[in-house]
């Protein structure tokens, strides 16, 4: 997973208009050529990518926490093995993406620091708690589902290392969504209590999942530059609509009700109409005031601190081996 249009300003740098390099750069983009790390690129392109890819990486890493919460309590060994594999995949996604960010000239240490100091953002969705086992189903089905919707167009992003990382990520995501749907399916075919659990999880995760696509296009005036650079291919609202359209029939199949009284098929548009998102909540969570923001960062910080001795020991061991090698 997990990108989110957090909609910070792309750095529209003071472009020296019409400089030959810029024109040539845009021509390469327009011709669908990929840009590679050592190629010339405008500062704004580099900065926009660093921010977007690193936010994406941080989201994968923080995204392990809500699900990790249930690994020890998964209801069967099969579920535990699956959840473990999924969470491990998310760690992998984070690492592919950190590597891609590093090709733009920022170090891993800087990136880690930006996350831990709260300077860098990650997807708002991971600041919600996982209260029941059904939440693990809802996350796989909805959160990974929304992520896939966001990520598939990124496989064609103009920046080579990002696009390549996304191809790998997308290949791995579809199992995430299916295992989540399978959990929901099993609960929805279970006892009354299990069905209630599934419905409750859907009620809590539906709106935050829609928020994953970022602010509505009306308030998202910065995507034009990202579109021109082919970092972004579809607007936030286009992707959100697509997600609603494919997900509503799945909820119907599960016999669950979407927590939105305005949700209705619109024959003339050929799309589902849906209710207004609580943008206030979205911005509050982004600002750090969601239910779990502090807990998530504290967990990252202590993982980082508790792992310090391992990193130190590994370096000491590597140096010792090297000295031995040279002596021999």
């Amino acid at each position: 997973m997990y990108t989110q249009g957090l909609d910070q300003k792309p750095d529209t740098e003071k472009q020296v208009d019409g400089t030959e390099q810029l024109v040539r750069f845009q021509a390469r983009i327009d011709a669908d050529e990929k840009i590679e790390p050592k190629d010339w690129m405008p500062d704004g392109y580099r900065k926009t990518l660093i921010r977007q890819i690193s936010q994406h990486a941080h989201s994968e890493i923080v995204g392990m926490l809500p699900e990790g919460n249930w690994i020890t309590r998964a209801p069967t060994l099969r579920r535990k093995a699956i959840l473990l594999a999924k969470v491990q995949d998310e760690a992998g996604h984070g690492l592919y993406l950190y590597s891609a960010t590093e090709t733009l000239g920022v170090s891993r240490d800087q990136l880690t620091e930006q996350l831990l100091t709260g300077k860098a953002k990650y997807s708002s969705i991971f600041n919600y708690p996982t209260l029941s086992w059904a939440d693990i189903g809802a996350i796989g089905w909805l959160v990974d589902g929304a992520a896939i919707m966001n990520q598939i167009p990124l496989c064609r992003c103009s920046y080579g290392p990002y696009a390549r990382a996304m191809v790998r990520v997308c290949k791995e995501e579809s199992f995430h969504q299916r295992q989540g749907f399978e959990i929901m399916l099993e609960l929805s075919r279970g006892s009354d209590a299990q069905r209630r659990m599934a419905q409750d999880a859907l009620n809590r995760w539906w709106w935050p999942s829609l928020m994953m696509f970022g602010p509505s296009d009306v308030d998202s005036k910065h995507s034009a530059q990202s579109m021109a650079w082919k970092i972004k291919r579809f607007s936030n609202d286009e992707l959100r609509q697509k997600f609603v359209d494919v997900t509503v029939p799945q909820a119907e199949f599960l016999g669950l009700t979407m927590p939105d009284t305005d949700l209705d098929w619109n024959e003339s548009r050929g799309h589902y109409d849906f209710g207004e998102i609580d943008w206030q909540e979205f911005y509050e969570v982004l600002k750090g005031n969601g239910p779990c923001n502090r807990e998530r960062l504290a967990a990252r910080q202590s993982a980082h601190d508790d792992g310090a001795w391992v990193r130190t020991a590994a370096v000491a061991y590597a140096q010792k081996q090297k000295r031995r090698c040279q002596a021999a």
């Binding site: 992998g92 690492l95 240490d109 880690t112 790998r168 990193r311 590994a314 370096v315 081996q321």
Partner: protein, 95 residues
């Protein structure tokens, strides 16, 4: 000791015997053997390969993309290096 001290490695995978190793990405590790361990976990979780190479990134010499037209241009006008340059008369076979 800071994490920065873990150098960057480029990872190459041979997906099955008979094929050459192919670059798949990079990772940080304290040394080469840790790089191979991490590469196993990071890049072959679904049986992507039968052999791994880890090469410290700083040991790779790379050509400069800014120079690429000067570097590769000499090859461009030598179309006689391609078999299609030559006309084979009708009736001549096995050529």
């Amino acid at each position: 000791m800071k994490k920065e001290d873990w150098p960057l490695f480029e990872i190459f995978i041979r997906s099955r015997s008979g094929l050459s190793h192919r670059h798949v990405g990079s990772l940080h590790a304290a040394d080469a053997s840790m790089a191979l361990d991490h590469a196993r976990d990071l890049y072959t979780r679904r049986g992507e390969g039968v052999s791994l190479w880890a090469v410290e990134s700083r040991n790779i010499a790379a050509s400069d993309p800014a120079e690429s037209s000067a570097l590769f241009e000499p090859a461009e006008d030598k179309i006689y290096r391609h078999p299609t340059f030559y006309e084979v008369p009708e009736g001549v076979e096995n050529l």
